[in-house]
Symmetry: C2
Subunit: 520 residues, 2 copies
């Protein structure tokens, strides 16, 4: 009834305009056990979906990492489903069509069609998402956390590929009035692998046959955008230049205003995470989601500031820059430095309170970080006592202060790397450690204990899955896979079954190459 | 369209008759990693739900343990949702009403109403379930695996209570034509605790005010029915005599034909599990689900044999009963015994094949167990070589033979207990072991290392949850709970804050009693 009158209004003004809510890296369940911050991700997800309803968007587009953990806790999964059922179901009519073959777009799903066209589900706001690196498919059945939501009819998981050598992306083709969108996506893939696929021309974005240039081409990707080593990111130049807008997930800093890539002539929007997962400067940038309007080939992206995100203030001080206040030789210099740091933290707290004024949705206790450069003969002090003063005012009392020392000599470079690692989310630290550990182990191991069938690379990956994604069967599966592969290889070569012969064969070049090809 | 003509037919014949599919202990995910049996539970769940559709039941009633693991794997959860979405959603109209206050019946749910009345879900077959001991609520948020299904709108989880001292059961009141059903349920509770509640008159089944005697009173319970120790089961006599039919879950033997309790004058149906989780005689009874018809106060329960359940044959042989075939003194007696056992297994395999003939749904490889009593001087032989012969014919080649020895003296009784334990599902064995371990530890511990605040009972329970339900926070939560409790107690008593004083107080009787009351 109401929807009818709304509809006519809607038709008059917006019949050709797609309204799309864009968000990414919501990391549901991040720090869920924390007494202060435990509910932050759930509250913000609620805010995001509420915005989708209030803005009457046609659909929500997520850029991956909806979940923080590969195996989200029951509570996290429950909270997520609750919010989605609350906001994504209802009687509001959906006025855009799907023109592509849904069985292709959602081929990995048991219900390979978009949820709002399922006559058993009354969906008012469809959500489309690729998976991120935190919630990617694992295990023998290749399922990921958002596949559970997809099976429950709450999300449309797209951008999924089974091949590890080749990507052929069939866009989801959407039509509203006279506007047509080709929606492309690639769920998270290890950066090196995707980099290699691009380099080898193994990434193809299929284009609609009909009126190729009449589409607005929207692409969602969840990869490193900033360079983390030679091949450990995806350069924008790799992406097809027929694209109009790229939504870049994974990077947590909010750079949501579309930036034109002058070489490729497309725009890139990087919404950034909706929760602060590391106390680094990028996360201190005000968090937003985007309201994207697309009409024909024109677009407009409206920034919507998030109200429920915990405030985060970060400041750097260099002790040696204040010779008027203290010098390393002074008696009681440490007390003076402490008082100075305290003052800086109080300044940030005041600023936080000022900015929070009148906004009842923002959590009371902000995140505060003071990075103290104590090079030049100063000493770091005990942060425990310092933290005590702020325990009731700050959400991260134990991590307020961060002492750093300037690189004074080249051999300190290792310290700095470690700093960089520590400022990442814990899971990534763990990941790095496990990788290093395995690598180190195999490098140090004597020749005779080295694995000849299980490659270092394969084993490293399996151990990493085991630790990082709680994938209990990763190691077992690798060994089974390798064993079967070896047996098949030997059968094919009709190797005589003597121990020496077999040993010789599997140490040969052909087998090794075959192995590496299959592991990547 | 079609449903309209169906409906009129339906109204003519069955307008007053409830048709209810009854099943229990489906144990989804049991042995999911097993190469042969891994899919058994999923296949049978599919069969059960298909039966519900084919028999056009009004609803499905489950007696608990839908899941085998408290934290089902992603694959298991995905399979379950897939089957439910496939069979429980659709356009078939539901023709019974709910008369009770759903907000009371489903008060623990975020969507406290029955799923088929949710205008956003097109439910054709509602499923009602209590939770079992395998899938019971755990953790600080008190969620269980079926709460995820409930949040997704796929199940109606009832019979849930928050109190551990008192149960007040509000029935779900259902009405179809002139037939009214009061549906009561108790989700699994540790038997001792429920036993005590019954003994202390703390279990109340509320009855509808209007026309108290006009209802068919149906009760679902998931507890030990057979006596496992003095208070470790629920005697039928404890249950209210106004009940008409009790559906008893948890017990795996199929005794689905309703048996009248002559004292209480109600009937009990024990559907039994739909999967064989232990190689004991009870599980060899043919598996069924039930089609219950209720009209007024009359009922009829039709047995439906399950086709997809793996066959299970068990046979006992006593070597000393065959003096004509072999005696312990003979040379080569072991080979003769082996041949004898082989013959018995082959007999069972032939019988299995004969019975399976023409039934393409039954899995090819049966479960086979031969229990060999070798008392009287015989010796057990290596089962490995024996198993090899049947590796392609039997689903459990490694566990075909089970050597037992007759209790010849009293001191052998321990062996027998161990046998009993081993025939239980592995998780229960683990449970027993953990419990024993903790008990033993505290009994052996010197007085000065014994815990004074954390009771043996509380700690035992926490460790058990930790191991058995993968509840990682169980121990932490217990300690937090106990600490807060102790602090509150001390504050209330205004104990002076000296160490000795505090020690004295918490060792006092009042506190200990308070503690025990709250732990149970």
């Amino acid at each position: 009834m109401n929807s009818e009158s709304n509809k006519s209004l809607y038709n008059t003004f917006e019949q050709d305009t797609f309204k799309i809510l864009i968000a990414t890296d919501i990391h549901l369940g991040y720090l869920e056990k924390d007494a202060i911050r435990g509910n932050d991700t759930f509250v913000t997800f609620d805010e995001i979906m509420k915005q989708a309803v209030q803005n009457e968007v046609d659909f929500v587009l997520l850029g991956g990492d909806l979940f923080h953990d590969n195996k989200p806790s029951r509570k996290t999964m429950h909270c997520c489903m609750e919010v989605m059922r609350k906001y994504c179901m209802g009687d509001r009519p959906i006025v855009f069509e799907i023109l592509s073959d849904q069985a292709v777009n959602f081929s990995h799903s048991k219900f390979p069609w978009v949820n709002y066209l399922d006559s058993n589900l009354n969906i008012s706001i469809p959500v489309f998402s690729v998976h991120g690196n935190h919630d990617d498919p694992t295990g023998a059945d290749g399922l990921c956390a958002i596949d559970l939501l997809s099976c429950a009819g709450l999300i449309n998981h797209f951008g999924r590929s089974r091949s590890v050598e080749k990507l052929e992306i069939s866009p989801v083709l959407l039509k509203k009035g006279n506007t047509r969108i080709a929606l492309y996506g690639i769920g998270s893939i290890p950066d090196e692998r995707l980099y290699r696929m691009f380099i080898n021309n193994q990434v193809t974005m299929l284009r609609p046959r009909e009126d190729e240039d009449g589409w607005f081409n929207l692409f969602v990707i969840h990869q490193n955008r900033s360079k983390h080593g030679a091949t450990n990111y995806i350069p924008e130049q790799f992406l097809d230049d027929f694209l109009d807008l790229v939504v870049w997930g994974h990077e947590h800093e909010c750079k949501i205003a579309p930036v034109r890539n002058e070489q490729q002539l497309f725009y890139v929007t990087q919404p950034g995470s909706s929760v602060i997962t590391s106390l680094s400067p990028g996360e201190a940038v005000k968090k937003h989601i985007g309201l994207l309007r697309v009409k024909g080939k024109k677009m407009n992206l409206q920034k919507i500031p998030l109200q429920t995100v915990r405030q985060f203030f970060i400041q750097d001080v260099t002790l040696s820059e204040h010779p008027d206040l203290f010098s390393p030789e002074q008696p009681n210099v440490m007390l003076k430095v402490m008082a100075f740091c305290q003052e800086k933290v109080e300044e940030m707290l005041e600023e936080a309170e000022r900015q929070r004024l009148g906004n009842s949705l923002t959590p009371e206790k902000p995140l505060i970080r003071l990075r103290v450069d104590y090079s030049g003969g100063f000493e770091a002090f005990n942060t425990m006592r310092f933290s005590q003063k702020f325990v009731d005012q700050v959400a991260n009392p134990k991590e307020i202060l961060h002492f750093i020392r300037h690189r004074e000599a080249k051999d300190n470079i290792k310290d700095m790397d470690f700093e960089a690692i520590l400022s990442r989310p814990t899971s990534e630290v763990l990941q790095l450690r496990v990788e290093d550990l395995v690598k180190e182990y195999f490098q140090k191991a004597e020749k005779n204990v080295q694995l000849s069938l299980l490659t270092e690379q394969g084993m490293g990956k399996a151990v990493q899955e085991f630790v990082d994604k709680e994938e209990k069967d990763a190691i077992e599966e690798l060994i089974k896979y390798q064993l079967e592969k070896t047996q098949r290889f030997l059968r094919e070569r009709r190797v005589e079954a003597t121990e020496e012969k077999i040993d010789e064969e599997v140490k040969g070049r052909a087998f090794k190459e075959d192995l590496v090809r299959n592991l990547n």
